[in-house]
């Protein structure tokens, strides 16, 4: 094992132990490890933004006055200056201009993207299983596909009904009909299954990460003692 690997391995081991010390209680070693991560990440991100964004996309065009790139670069420069003004009390209103610009663009993009990339394809995929042309084209009826499509349809309707019923309770509107309450209960079952699956996924990911780190520590010591 080379010296850099040894030093880096010891540092990694020490940081791992410092993070695990949170099992005892929130202590200074855990804080040091946390602040180290945040500080290193921030410094790295700052340098990367300067090198990859600010220099090539803002400073470089501004060094070419008279060109079209120069005038185009004035727009982000102006917006950036307005954004910096938010640091000051008097200029906070001016800082809303670039924020409004960003929010507007983001909203437009999200609406377009969701409608084209999620809503329409998902609805069409559900209708796909019930399309007469598709069903008639099959040599044998795919019962499992139909059941899956029906389950998806019921799940979507039931979950939407659950949220509607919940909104009624929050806003103290008139109580829902017994039918809607029953459908809402079904929606709760679907939501419970979904959250359970998410919880299992989180546990599984955390377990994989833990095993990976422990394996790295074991490998480090095995290499260390093996020479």
């Amino acid at each position: 094992m080379s010296l850099p690997d040894l030093v880096l391995g010891i540092i990694g081991l020490a940081l791992t132990v410092m993070v695990f010390s949170y099992l005892i209680k929130d202590n200074v070693f855990f804080g040091i490890a946390l602040y180290l991560l945040v500080g290193v990440s921030s410094g790295f991100a700052t340098l990367l933004i300067i090198r990859s964004v600010i220099l090539p996309m803002l400073i470089s065009p501004l060094t070419q006055p008279g060109t079209q790139a120069f005038y185009l670069a004035l727009v982000p420069l102006l917006l950036s200056i307005l954004l910096v003004l938010m640091l000051f009390k008097r200029g906070s209103r001016m800082g809303r201009i670039p924020l409004a610009f960003l929010v507007g663009v983001m909203t437009a993009m999200a609406l377009m993207g969701i409608s084209r990339g999620t809503l329409a394809p998902q609805v069409l995929s559900i209708f796909y299983w019930f399309s007469p042309g598709i069903v008639a084209g099959w040599s044998a009826i795919r019962w499992w596909g139909l059941v899956e499509g029906i389950a998806i349809l019921i799940g979507v309707v039931a979950v939407l009904t659950f949220f509607e019923d919940r909104q009624r309770k929050i806003s103290h509107k008139s109580p829902s009909s017994p039918l809607l309450k029953g459908v809402s209960k079904v929606g709760q079952v679907f939501l419970g299954v979904t959250f359970g699956a998410l919880f299992v996924g989180i546990l599984s990911s955390a377990l994989i990460a833990l095993i990976g780190n422990l394996s790295a520590i074991v490998d480090f010591f095995s290499h260390l003692f093996a020479g």
């Binding site: 695990f20 099992l23 005892i24 990440s41 790295f44 991100a45 990367l48 933004i49 990859s52 964004v53 090539p56 996309m57 065009p61 060109t67 079209q68 790139a69 185009l72 663009v105 983001m106 993009m109 993207g113 969701i114 084209r116 990339g117 999620t118 394809p121 998902q122 069409l124 995929s125 998806i152 979904t194 699956a197 998410l198 996924g201 989180i202 546990l203 599984s204 990911s205 377990l207 994989i208 990460a209 833990l210 095993i211 990976g212 780190n213 422990l214 394996s215 074991v218």
Partner: protein
């Protein structure tokens, strides 16, 4: 208020009094002609009150006479007459006439009784009206005095004549009374025309009996060593103290030089400016609750030397300071109100028990369980062989992924898009490294791009695990989804400016790729790609390698066919154990341990982490 009242003149002093006054309010002389009724014969003063005193007896007698014995009215009447005659000539004539009429008309006794009752009520009401009128007269007198005092004060508040230096007369008088106030005053005094004798005379006139000669003051000041020096320069404000309060002890008065004690209203009104000599500027009235600051006098002295604009500014500052002090008081009151509200809201709630005050016993169970869990995993990693075979069931997405990976042609190209953090690197690198190595083995051309900043050095770690000799340099695409949209939109070459292409310089062109492999730990990245890029690049086939915790969220996109296949979690590692670096047996051991811990947690400590429910009933 007294305009509509009848007035009568006092026979002695000739001044006006109210009509029902028994005595003159000015000289105290008894007022005559008070009780004057129609038909009443004037009688001497001695017999004036007797009928009133005799009326109740007469009244009783008149009432009892017809009821006691109706048969002998003449005898009773004669007896009464006799008794009356025995009383002498003190009975008035009108009463005699009334009696005669009663004797003459027995039936009229009821009317006469009523008339006497009315007479008696009138007399009583006159007595009440007399008291009220006296009280009203007293109030009027006080008001008249107050009016006179206000008029005199208004005269004194008129701009006083200025001397050659522009110093008003009132200020000169103040300075003359306090020769040792400050240097400015000292200078003024030396330049003043007034001689020492005139000043002595002025002080004597102003202070009256309370005047103490100047040399006596100096002697007193020398004796009073406890007083701070600055007090000697403070103006003596005792001239504004009402007379009765000057009788207070000297020590108390000096210790409270900065304050003026409250005075009764009438005495304060009597304490006219003629007696005190002068009044403080701007304080024509003394509020009993008001705190008088001696520094205000010094400020006034300083203001007198200032120009009118500066004086106005100083007064504005003083008003502002007063307002601020009010605000401070209001804030203090507000805090008190908040404190009281908090106390009231806490009322009735149980106090923390002694058991809660005790220091909480440190619970080491979490530490013990965590360490035991880690130790079991360590032993599993060390002692369980890595090449142990497993028959893990393969999921549908993984099966599809394997099929598509095998079907990839060598002349196709693939774009690897990375967007994950270091925390998910272990899992995702274990899943991605075998795929990249398979692509290398096929001779497929590929390029790497990262949407996160830390993806640059995570890519190096990934390529190292994939054991690549000459991996392509990853490209950082700043801007996330917006940058992807910019790359995905097919621009019209005729309209796109050359300078606009600088944003795409060095960036991969999506048109050049047949496949896109998304490696991410967030379903939002997959959604962003599908919503912003895939809809604009329908020819690109999308695959994904995602963390297990987000796999559920992208399952609908797989069902809809927007993602051809994806890998996630330990199921994705099935069959790729040699690249993973993750022991599947250890993973299973860890999974069993976590399930056991969850069950134990539910069984042994139910509800320990629940938030206490708020009491709905409340306490009485």
């Amino acid at each position: 208020m007294t305009d509509g009242l009848n007035m009568q003149k006092c026979p002695k002093c000739g001044k006006d009094n109210l009509a029902h006054m028994t005595h003159c309010v000015h000289c105290g002389t008894a007022m005559e002609d008070l009780f004057h009724f129609d038909g009443q014969i004037e009688t001497p003063e001695s017999s004036n009150e007797e009928p009133i005193a005799a009326l109740p007896f007469i009244f009783d007698e008149m009432q009892s006479t017809p009821q006691s014995d109706d048969d002998s009215p003449s005898r009773d009447s004669s007896a009464e007459k006799k008794a009356t005659d025995e009383d002498g000539s003190q009975s008035p004539d009108w009463l005699e006439r009334v009696r005669e009429r009663v004797r003459a008309e027995d039936d009229a006794s009821g009317l006469l009784t009523k008339g006497l009752s009315a007479l008696q009520e009138r007399l009583e009401s006159d007595e009440k009206g007399d008291a009220e009128s006296q009280y009203q007269a007293w109030l009027d007198e006080i008001r008249e005095k107050a009016e006179r005092e206000k008029a005199k004060q208004a005269e004194r508040l008129q701009p006083s004549p200025l001397d050659e230096q522009g110093v008003p007369e009132w200020l000169r008088r103040i300075r003359a009374l306090h020769p040792d106030a400050d240097e400015g005053v000292e200078e003024l005094k030396t330049e003043d025309e007034w001689t020492e004798e005139e000043l002595e005379e002025l002080r004597r006139r102003e202070l009256g009996d309370d005047y103490v000669p100047n040399h006596m003051n100096e002697q007193t000041a020398e004796d009073d060593t406890d007083e701070p020096e600055e007090d000697d320069f403070e103006p003596d404000i005792e001239h504004n103290i009402p007379e009765d309060y000057e009788d207070l002890t000297t020590a108390e008065a000096q210790s409270r030089k900065s304050k003026v004690s409250p005075a009764p209203i009438d005495e304060a009104l009597d304490n006219s400016p003629e007696e005190t000599g002068f009044v403080m500027m701007g304080e024509p009235k003394l509020d009993p609750d008001e705190v008088f600051d001696t520094k205000a006098v010094e400020a006034l002295l300083a203001q007198s030397d200032q120009s009118p604009p500066a004086r106005k500014k100083a007064s504005r500052d003083a008003e502002k300071e007063a307002i601020l002090q009010d605000l401070v008081i209001l804030r203090g009151q507000h805090e008190k109100v908040a404190l009281l509200k908090a106390l009231i809201s806490e009322e009735g709630r149980p106090l923390p028990s002694s058991g809660e005050i005790k220091t909480k016993k440190r619970n080491h169970s979490r530490l013990i369980i965590g360490l035991a869990f880690i130790l079991v995993l360590l032993f599993s990693i060390i002692f369980i062989p890595k090449n142990m075979s497993h028959k893990t069931p393969i999921s549908v997405p993984q099966e599809r992924f394997t099929l598509h990976l095998d079907a990839m042609d060598a002349n196709k190209s693939l774009l690897l898009v990375m967007s994950y953090s270091a925390a998910s690197a272990t899992e995702l690198e274990a899943l991605t490294a075998p795929v990249i190595q398979a692509l290398e083995d096929k001779g497929l051309s590929w390029q790497a791009m990262t949407l996160r900043m830390d993806g640059l050095w995570l890519a190096e770690s990934l390529f190292e695990k994939a054991d690549l000799k000459n991996p392509p340099a990853p490209v950082f695409l700043s801007g996330g989804q917006y940058a992807m949209l910019n790359l995905a939109i097919k621009p019209d070459d005729q309209t796109e400016l050359e300078e606009q292409k600088v944003l795409k310089e060095g960036m991969p062109k999506f048109d050049d790729f047949d496949y896109v492999l998304l490696v991410t730990d967030s379903s939002l990245s997959v959604r962003g790609w599908l919503e912003q890029v895939a809809v604009n690049q329908p020819s690109i086939n999308t695959f994904a390698i995602i963390s297990q915790k987000e796999a559920v969220a992208i399952q609908p996109y797989f069902d809809s066919g927007q993602i051809l296949a994806y890998l996630s979690g330990m199921q994705g590692l099935a069959g790729a154990g040699s690249y993973a670096g993750i022991h599947q047996s250890v993973f299973h051991v860890g999974l069993i341990l976590m399930i056991l811990l969850l069950i134990l947690g539910f069984l042994l400590r139910p509800g320990s982490d629940e938030q206490p429910k708020p009491e709905t009933g409340g306490q009485a």
